[in-house]
């Protein structure tokens, strides 16, 4: 409880003094898509402090995000999982697409999200929390046998109010593998850069390279039982640090606040952006005069 209050205080302090550019969100999406032709390569992980009867886990994942068009971003994931005292396994892949239907900035900017997941039940990256909390104490060898072909859709609503970003995501997911119900979830995020003005001098540790924010995400049950019963919910302050012109570090400790949540989900991510990747590849195939 003391840790929760301490992290909350740090988070409020960071946001209150706020005045960078890359969002500190891990779960929540805003309306900013990848720039057309750019490729982002990200290595992230979710580390879970276990609930009673569960073992700690470490779930790394690789993200390849490409701006196909200004209004269409496509992303491919490969993910794995390692459970303490159990095993390390590959848990599957995901392919997501985000579409921005409105061209200009609006008070509320909608984005449509569609994802196909080919994962097994041992997946622990928790890029979204939907439905009810997973059972505890089941070994990876058993979970790995249960394949899930899932389709997930999100309605992303995002607003920039002065220098603040406020985003709301509404999630619905359906496992096509079995006779399972639709599962629901939500994610909310608020973030802001720590400085609004940029100095002319080069610097790495100055405030202009940081953004801070808070996320709130969790499951909302399923079409068989909609609501908060036996669901996991997290409060997650986060920070992003622009290391160079095209690389970022992000960190977010998610604090579970229901009995079915992990006490702590520690998320860490490093992203490297290859600008003009599409043009570089195209130039390889272009005929030289």
């Amino acid at each position: 409880m003391r840790i929760t209050l301490y992290l909350l205080a740090i988070c409020i302090l960071l946001v209150a003094t706020a005045a960078a550019q890359e969002s500190p969100y891990f779960v929540t999406y805003d309306h900013h898509l990848e720039e057309a032709g750019n490729l982002e390569i990200g290595i992230s992980s979710t580390t879970g402090v276990p609930r009673t009867g569960e073992r700690a886990f470490f779930a790394p994942y690789l993200e390849l995000e490409y701006g196909a068009k200004g209004w269409w971003t496509t992303e491919f994931y490969l993910e794995g999982q390692s459970t303490r005292g159990d095993s390390t396994i590959f848990t599957g892949w995901r392919w997501e697409n985000r579409f921005r239907p409105l061209a200009r900035e609006h008070p509320i900017n909608p984005v449509l999200y569609v994802e196909y997941e080919n994962v097994n039940e041992a997946t622990r990256i928790q890029k979204e929390i939907v439905g009810n909390a997973p059972p505890v104490g089941v070994p990876n060898s058993e979970l790995q046998q249960e394949h899930a072909h899932e389709v997930e859709a999100k309605l992303i609503l995002s607003s920039n109010i002065r220098d603040w970003n406020v985003s709301e995501n509404f999630i619905v997911e359906k496992n096509l593998s079995g006779n399972e119900p639709f599962e629901f979830g939500y994610s909310l995020g608020v973030s802001r850069p720590l400085a609004t003005m940029v100095s002319g001098k080069p610097c790495r540790l100055c405030r202009e390279n940081f953004a801070a924010g808070v996320e709130l995400y969790g499951g909302l049950g399923s079409s068989k039982g909609f609501g908060l019963h036996q669901t996991a919910h997290y409060f997650a302050p986060g920070i992003s640090w622009q290391l160079s012109d095209n690389s970022w570090l992000r960190l977010s400790p998610g604090i579970g606040f229901t009995g079915d949540s992990n006490p702590l989900l520690l998320r860490f991510g490093y992203t490297y952006e290859i600008r003009g990747f599409g043009n570089k590849v195209k130039s390889l195939f272009r005929k030289k005069p």
Binding site: H32, A68, A103, D163, M197, G200, G276, V281, K282
Partner: protein, 159 residues
């Protein structure tokens, strides 16, 4: 070949085929968009930053980080993206408010991203920097800038 191997191969084949498709989906030609005009009230806004020189120094840093990939390090545009030369009178005659609106909203149909995530003051800093191009450029010079020339016409220092 069992079913699992066939499925893995099918996924790999799909990804290999999908990559060139996605890349070719980008805009290959860029022409000025006549519909991309700032509303009158937005165009009338003035740059609120008092010290334009200091602001422009930060604006240059932001430009090199966020804009130079398409517009070129020297802001003369690049051959690959067809992004416009920002020294041109057609750009420089626009008001500060109009440039601010275009940076903020982008033109996603044409590949210009919206920089609304960048703080408002920082976007004004970019406008301040763009104004320094006007002072430093020779718009009457008809010679094509280096960054816009095709590779074959660029000056080769080794020659």
């Amino acid at each position: 070949m069992n079913f699992k191997t066939a499925r893995i191969m099918a996924v790999n084949l799909f990804l290999i085929l999908a990559l060139p498709l996605l890349i070719s989906a980008q805009e290959s030609q860029h022409q000025p968009d006549p519909t991309w005009q700032a509303p009158a009230e937005e165009a009338a806004k003035t740059n609120p930053l008092p010290d334009k020189t200091e602001a422009a120094a930060g604006g240059r840093k932001l430009f090199l980080r966020d804009c130079a990939n398409c517009h070129g390090q020297d802001a003369h545009g690049t051959e690959d993206t067809e992004a416009p030369d920002l020294h041109l009178p057609a750009v420089q005659k626009q008001s500060d408010g109009a440039l601010f609106w275009k940076i903020s909203n982008g033109n996603v149909k044409r590949g210009m991203p919206a920089f609304s995530r960048t703080p408002e003051a920082s976007r004004w800093q970019i406008v301040s920097y763009l104004r320094t191009l006007k002072a430093g450029s020779d718009s009457t010079n008809s010679e094509q800038p280096e960054s816009r020339k095709p590779e074959s016409q660029k000056n080769d220092p080794k020659k």
